[in-house]
Symmetry: C2
Subunit: 454 residues, 2 copies
Amino acid sequence: MLRAMADALETDRELLVETADRETALGAPRLNGELTRTTFQLRFFADVIEDGGYLEATIDHPGDTAMGPRPDLRKMLRPIGPVAVFGASNFPFAFSVPGGDAASALAAGCAVVVKGHEAHPRTSQLCADALRRGAETANISADVVSLVLGRAAGTALVLDPNIRAVGFTGSLSGGRALHDLASSRPSPIPFYGELGALNPLVICPSAAENRSAEIAAGLANSFTLGVGQFCTKPGLAFIPAANHQLVADLAEAVNAKSASVLLNARVQQGFAGGTTALLRLPGVGQLAAAQPPATNDGWWGTPLLLEADAAALAGAVLDECFGPVLVIVRYESDNELFDLLKKVGPALTASIHADDDDLPLARRLVETFAARVGRVVWNGFPTGVAVAWAMHHGGPYPATTDALHTSVGASSIRRWLRPVAYQDVPQQLLPAELVDAPVAGQRLPRRVDGHLDN
Amino acid sequence: MLRAMADALETDRELLVETADRETALGAPRLNGELTRTTFQLRFFADVIEDGGYLEATIDHPGDTAMGPRPDLRKMLRPIGPVAVFGASNFPFAFSVPGGDAASALAAGCAVVVKGHEAHPRTSQLCADALRRGAETANISADVVSLVLGRAAGTALVLDPNIRAVGFTGSLSGGRALHDLASSRPSPIPFYGELGALNPLVICPSAAENRSAEIAAGLANSFTLGVGQFCTKPGLAFIPAANHQLVADLAEAVNAKSASVLLNARVQQGFAGGTTALLRLPGVGQLAAAQPPATNDGWWGTPLLLEADAAALAGAVLDECFGPVLVIVRYESDNELFDLLKKVGPALTASIHADDDDLPLARRLVETFAARVGRVVWNGFPTGVAVAWAMHHGGPYPATTDALHTSVGASSIRRWLRPVAYQDVPQQLLPAELVDAPVAGQRLPRRVDGHLDN
C-alpha cells in the first residue's frame, strides 16, 4: 500500500507541484525535490516494516527463575489506533498530507485523518486523493486516509475519542495549545508536536581562521534555504571575537542574496514583526541585508544578518524567529562561550565547525549539545534531515512536545505502536510474528529468551 | 551499582521486612517474596544494560541515496535526566523506593528522586538508605537516589524544572492529577502513571464445564491475593449462564476465606464505600462473603463475591474497586458476551479460560482483548507480573497514562531515554557505542546500514 501510494503521487507529480507552487511560492525545483523525498519516504517505511524489527517481537519461554516458575510470555508492538496528523505550512508534501507523520502512522497499521494546512488546501486535497487511490490499488479501503480542513475540524479531531494519537508540525504556540488539549481529554492521548528551534551553531577559532569563506557561504545558504522557513534553520551562531574575516565574509554573502516570497501573510507578518522587535533590543544591530524586493506587493522576506552583544543574549534573541534571519554573537573565550550556551535552550539540532586545533573545545561542545539537542552536526549545517535508520529529528521541549520520539527516520513509526503481551496463549491463537516456528520465508528479528535472534 | 544496591537491600532484609510488615500488615511471607522480586529486578536491569540492545545504537555510513548524498549518521538513546518516582502503597518494595520505576530509571543512567508513600515512610527511608549505600559501594554518589515525603513535596517534584520525567503507581484520581500537572508545566515532561484496572476475565463454556472447581479456586485466590490490593486483580468475570456449578464453587471458595487487614485507613474506607455503593445498585447482589473479622478494631477487608445483571453493567460496576471484591456477570450467548465486552474499557490485563471446544470463541476473545488491554492471559490469572524481557505491564488509559510504555520488564527502561543523533561527528568524539570498531570484548547489538549486527 505504501508503495502504491508513492506511485500514485508520482503519477500526479506535475499537477501536484504546479498546485503547490501556486499555493506556497516555494518554486518547482524545491517542490519537485520535496515530492521525491516524500515518495522515497513512503517506500522507505515499506522497507522498515518488511524488516520487521520495528515490532520488537520478544519471546520468553516458560522456565524456572529466581522468582519461581515463569509463564510463557510473548510481546510485540501493535497499532495504537486511528491517528490525527496536522500538516505543516512550510512543507506541503514532506510534512503535510503524504508526509512523515502520515507515512509512519500508515506503516504502523493506523488509519490517518489529516488536518490539511490552510495555506495549501488544494495541494492537500490532491495529495489525499492520490493516497486514497494508492490504498485502493492495494485493495485497502481508501478511508485509511481522510482529510479535514479548518481550525474547528482540527480541534474536534484532537478531542475525538476514536483518535488515539496526534502528530503535529508547526509553531510553538499552536502546538502547545493542541498538546494541552490532547493531555486534558477525558482519555489523554500522546501528542507528538515538532515545534521548531533556534538551532545554535558554534564556529571554533581554527575553523573560522582556516575556512572563513566556505563556512560563511554555507551558513548564509543554510539560514536562507526555503526562505528560512525550516524548523532546522540555524538561528544563532557563535563566532570567535578575534576573527573579523568570517563576519565580513558572512555579511558579504548575505548582501549578495535577494528577498524571496514567504509562505503566507501570517509568516510574513511574523517575520517582519519578529525582526523589527529584535532590532529594537539594546545590544542588537544589523550587519547585513539581502537585496530588497522590487515591489512591496506580496509576502516578501528579505534575509537579514543581525548581531547581538553577549549581554543581549536573552528574551526574544533566544526564541526562534521563523524566516531568513540569523543572529550572531561573538565570544571572547571558551569559558565565555559555555556561559553563553547555558542560556540557550533545547533545540532540534546544534552544529559545530571545528578543525584539528579545535578538538579540545569541540569535544566539550559535542558533550554539551548531546545533553540538550536531538542532533549534533559536525562541520555542516542542520537544514536537510535525511530519511534514514539513524536519523533523529526531535529534542526536549520546546523543540518538540515529546523528547522520546522522532518525526523523521525509521524509529518515527514507534510513536504509533503500543506493546501487547500474550501469556501462555496457544500457538494457534498467537499473531504469526510470535509463534515458535519462524514465518516461512521471513527472517524476523526477535529477542528469544533474552537473546537476539535474527 | 544496581547489583550493589541489590546486595545492600539483602543485607538489610530482616529489618526491611519487619518494618514493612508493621507499616503495611502484608505479612512476612509476602514481603520476603516481594523483596526477593525487587533485588531480582535490580540484577535483571544490570543484565539488560550489559546486553546493550536497549541503546538502539544505529549507524548509517555516508552514501548515495535516491535523495542524493547522505551524511554519516549515528544514533543512540541517552538518559533523559533526573526522574521523579512516586511509590505505591500496595507494594512497599517492588513498586516503591527500590521498585521497578527507580530501578529502570537508574539503569537508564538517570538520578532518581522518590516520593515515598505516606503509608510506609520508615520502610521508604530504610530502602533509600540501602540504595544510597549500594551506590557508594560502586563509587557513585549516594545522591543518585534521594527521598522526599509528603504531598507538597510530591507536587513540587513534578513541577521542578530539573525533573525530566515522572513514574507513578497509584490511584486513577491521584495519577490523573499529577499527569495534568506534568503536562501543564512551562516545559511539559512525560508522566508514566500506572493507575490500575478492572482486568476482565472470561470463562468459556467448556472450560467452565470441565474445570469448574479448579477455576473457582484459582479465581478466588487471585482476587483476594494481597487482600485484593493488586492493580492486576481480576475485578469482573464473565461466566456462562447455563453453568451453575462454577458459581456455586466460586461462592464456596469465597465463603471459606477470611477477612484480612487492608493497607491503611484510606484503602479501607475506599473498599467499604465502594462495595456498599455497588450493592445499592439495581441488578447487583451479593453471592458470597468470607468470614468476617473477629473484631472491628483495625482496617479489615472481607472478600466479597457480587453478581451484576447484564443490564447493570454500567457506571461503578465498570470502575475498579480496590480491594478483595469480584463481580460476576452471566452471559447467555457469544453474541451477548461480545456486546457486554464492548462496555468494558481498556485494562492492564484480560484473562481467558478456554478448553479445546471453546477455540472459535477464544480466538475472537484474544483478538478483542489484544486491541484493548496490555496483556492477554490464557488459562491463568493476571495477578503476578513476571520481571522478564517479554513482559508488558501497561495499557491504554485509564490503565495507564501512556499506552506506549510498560512499568515492568526490560522495555520499561525505554521510558527514561531519549535519542540523540550525531551527524558526521569524528570517531574520536563519538560515544564508544557508536564508533565503527566494536568496543573491545563487548558485543553490542547495533543496526548498521539498515542491517542488525549482533
